[in-house]
Amino acid sequence: MGIIRTENLTYVYGEGTPFRKVAVDGVSLDIDEGEIVGIIGHTGSGKSTLIQHFNGLLKPTSGKVFIDGEELFADKSRLKEIRFKVGLVFQYPEHQLFEETVYKDIAFGPKNMGLSDGETDRRIRETARLVGLREELLEKSPFELSGGQKRRVAIAGVMAMEPKVLILDEPTAGLDPRGRDRILGLIKEYHAEKGTTVLLVSHSMEDVAKTVSKILVMNDAKVFMYSDRSSVFAKSAELTSMGLTVPQVTRVFDRLREMGIEFEDEVFSVDYAKDLVMRLLAEKRG
């Protein structure tokens, strides 16, 4: 059994009102430990609702969720423990900053875990380095920082809890391309360094393609597929009909294939595309 497992998970908002909405519908999943997974789907497909089940913020309307083999809501007093195991970074996490200094804000999670001051301090400095916040920023007020810096402080606040699973809901929303690359870069780095399971929710195939190894596609409250990158991108027609775009390079190479150029793999990154083009050219010459 993987670290995150769901059985027939269903969640309904506003049951019994005219605004009833099934946001997650019969989702069964098994995500292995150490994986870095991208969750994509169009707006309102239920991504945010799904991930809030993984640390017990939402209680399933029906179905079960297991974290690390333990069923959520079987014992309510264990929920807090589980929240420390599964760190969740919400969309626009900078809106949750509240402390006087960046240092204290990052300390909020570790303090709630009951860690010693020494351990808290170690974690703050380590995560600050990981997310690229300079030491002198730690003593500043979080409200004085730029948008991208605030975002990184908020992410650090969850990373400092050293959860076994880190879930990020659209961590790049509203950032410029450079800020976006920075955040994605630090997530990748974090994954490489800590080896923990990471779930990354995003609208953007480009972002996901760059960062993750497996992809979970949500469509209208259901899981459309959960597989590795190339098999997901191979379904480019279906994805397009769901309002998702396959990365630009993938589309370019799909078109090239239609035009009769032969190569095996799906192309999902510019680097790979470059290698492929070089190889094909070499073959043609040779």
Binding site: P18, K80, F98, G109
Partner: protein, 269 residues
Amino acid sequence: MIKDITLGQFFPGKSVIHRLDPRIKLLLTVIYIVMLFVADTFAGLGAGVLFMLISFLLSGIPLKMMLKSIKPLLPIILFTGILNLFFISTGDILFEWGIIKITSGGVTTMIFMASRIVLLICGTSLLTYTTSPITLTDAIERILSPLKVIKFPAHEIAMMMTIALRFIPTLIEETDKIMSAQKARGADLESGNIIRRAKALIPILIPLFVSAFRRAEELALAMECRCYRGGEGRTRLKQLKTAPRDYVATAVAVLFLAAVIVLNRFSPL
């Protein structure tokens, strides 16, 4: 969940009652309330019940919603009922035990008062169920606008109400999100004594205020960008217009009021 707190409890629909001009609906509600207070016989109250029943059936609001609106006020209804039961000593004595005396007059008054309160709640709930809060403030603005002559800020008050109503759901949603986010960081909002709980609110309240101020600033800016200069000379996207059905409804209500007055005079009950 915190989101379940609804304000104005609008229940969207397309019934005749929904489509009535909100100003007329306010007027009808006032007539209805007068009707209930003028009635001092069961027959008169019966006319009120009939009026309520007709409006309710026309509105298509589920009975469950109606009962839900009465539930929170049940203690008050019971309390006034019991007061009436024990403190009115007209009519025949039905039951006596020490100083406690229950008379037929008491029982009648209890039933009468309780029915009146229930009818009042039903009527006003029907108004808020079938009229969106925004339309309602619009109607209030129009009704109050003659007072502008004496410098009464009708437009400003209506605008403030509209903005408040518009942002209550947004702020509730925001609070929900912030609470979830802090819970995800291990914030404990449910246990401990009062001081601990008050302290636990800080991580919620500060981000909430920050965001409320940010929203206020953005809204003010957006309004200025669209040349908002107060109510002076402002036209509306949705003009309130009375239709024949509004006159019919008013006529029916006035007839009912007349019926109540007549029944007061001639009914034996």
